[in-house]
Amino acid sequence: MVSARASLRTRLSNLIARRELLLSLITSDIRIKYKGSALGLFWSMLSPALTLATYYLVFSVFLKNGIPLFVVYLFAGLIVWNMFQTAVSSATGVIVDRAGLVKKVSFPREILALSNVGASVIYFVIQIVVLAIFLAIVGHAPAWGFLWLLPISFVALYLLTASIAVVMSAITVYLRDVRHLMDVVLQLWFWVSPVVYSYENSIAPALRIRGLTALYFINPMTPIILTFQRIFYVNTTVRSTTTGLPLHILPAWSMTTFAEVNVGLLVFAVALFLVALVIFGRLEGNFESEL
């Protein structure tokens, strides 16, 4: 059934029906990336491992900021950010880049953007593994009780990333500048997210005093990053290794608060994803004359 406009329900069922295509696009992307390299996927493990080792060295030897195991805090947030950033920036131009395919073969076009998100999920998993190995080496236990929040938070992250990737890939067809604009936006976005600095060291406490905490959570990346940090870094308050004074790192939320925030975010992300599919469907009709 082909008609001028497909309903959201048919879009979704088409997507589900073509999940095999999504898988083969992801695997072929990864295969092409590591074609001819003997170590293959091992390279993508080596790179985060090296990053982790470097940060460890820098923050515990050269730039002592007094936060014990700061590298774990940093890496937990970076994992989340990397997944978001690589997926969105690679998906933004994907429909323009694969114009030949889009004009000749019939399949739900959003699969192209989703395949880029899928590839970054694989790198995300690899980084989680690297982090787990690192935690085992340094003997730092994650917050086991909070671990069940990880899948919820991850699904929310996935849907959030996918929504933005899908919409951006369609907009870029009409406005090619968006690709470059997105690079800038992503950089700014990174610095308003509590990845490098701690939440309690940002403007968040100041907002809290004025009752404006919600403002900080306009950025949907914040609760996801905080959840990952809570799971892997664990400590909300630590004693500074240099001054001996207590340092507030993470918000002292109870598990219930974390759960509420994550479930709320998940609901939001699901809604956002559906909206993204509708927007994509509206924009998709004129691809042919713009590519």
């Binding site: 001028a4 073509r18 500048d177 042919e288």
Partner: protein, 382 residues
Amino acid sequence: MTNVIEVQDISKRFTIHHERNQTLKERILHPRSGSSEIFDALSDINFTVAQGETLGIVGHNGSGKSTLLKCICGVLKPTTGQIRLRGNLAALLELGAGFQHELSGRDNVYLYGSMLGFTRKMVDAIFDDVVAFSELEHFIDTPVKFYSSGMYVRLAFAVAVNVNPDILVVDEVLAVGDERFQAKCIDRIRRFQREGRTILLVTHQADTVRAICDRAIVLDHGNMIADGPVTEALRIFRERLLGDVIDHRPGGSGVVTIDGLSAPSGSFEVRHGSSLRFDATLTCDHAVSGNLVIEVFTRTGLLVSRNDAEASPVTLRPGVNKVGVELANVPLLDGVYDLNVGLVEPQGATMLAWREKAASLQVLYDGRSSGVVAIESSVTQW
């Protein structure tokens, strides 16, 4: 008979940008600049295809054939209307469009299969057939970027026909590949027909349509001008092409019409092996020279002969002209044949006038051979 394809009121409108304002700066600075033009590639197309039918879509370049096919395959969204499909569809719009150059033939078979909507398991089941059909056993693990264009096409065609779709859509791809592979493709298409699958074929080669299709539709500037049996549709197609040629002649003069054929004996009846004389009457409004083309078709639409146009030049005066034609030693066997007569320009093959089925030729034959022509054979036992 169930309809597997239902095309209802399909229109497709393109906006052609003459000046592309695709950067953000230009869009902001000149929100409405850059002229654009609306182009209706298809207007209100309606037709259905029954299961097991082979439909040819013919039309000149730019008539909307490929747009229509892309709408049916779902690559393009029609502006209005809808298309219903029953069963799965494999489309060959451009062979190997989904191939990834860096990947091996094997990986591409799976990738292409999944693009056509088939699962890995289904591709597993037909993988050996695909490789056998494409004859690429030795190169299946080589990246396709090292393939020749012929190998490329063979692999893509092999995937599309071996996934056994309910509907196969083919766009001008039979023209590629060597003669032997073409024959193999036609063979496979015939097997598809025997199996009761539906085929949609786009081409501008009348001979291909005549050879394969049961029915044809003709598109002209986005409108469907004919839908019917192949011979009838092709006649309309030719007349339209001819009409276009006349329209596009400089000065608008030089209309030549073929008024008809007449035989001195009063009938177009000829005994096998003897000759037939007839006259063609042509009217033109100014002097023109050209070559007379004569085609002989069987009633089933098989082209028996098309003469060499260059060998029969004629010069016409303004007014009514009579041209004598002789068909020498007609080698045809018993049956009724159709004669098409045309006038083409001396240089190039631009058609000046055409008359389809200008006359019916009745051939009488007493011998025992059957078929279309007699080939004398003598058998000697050594």
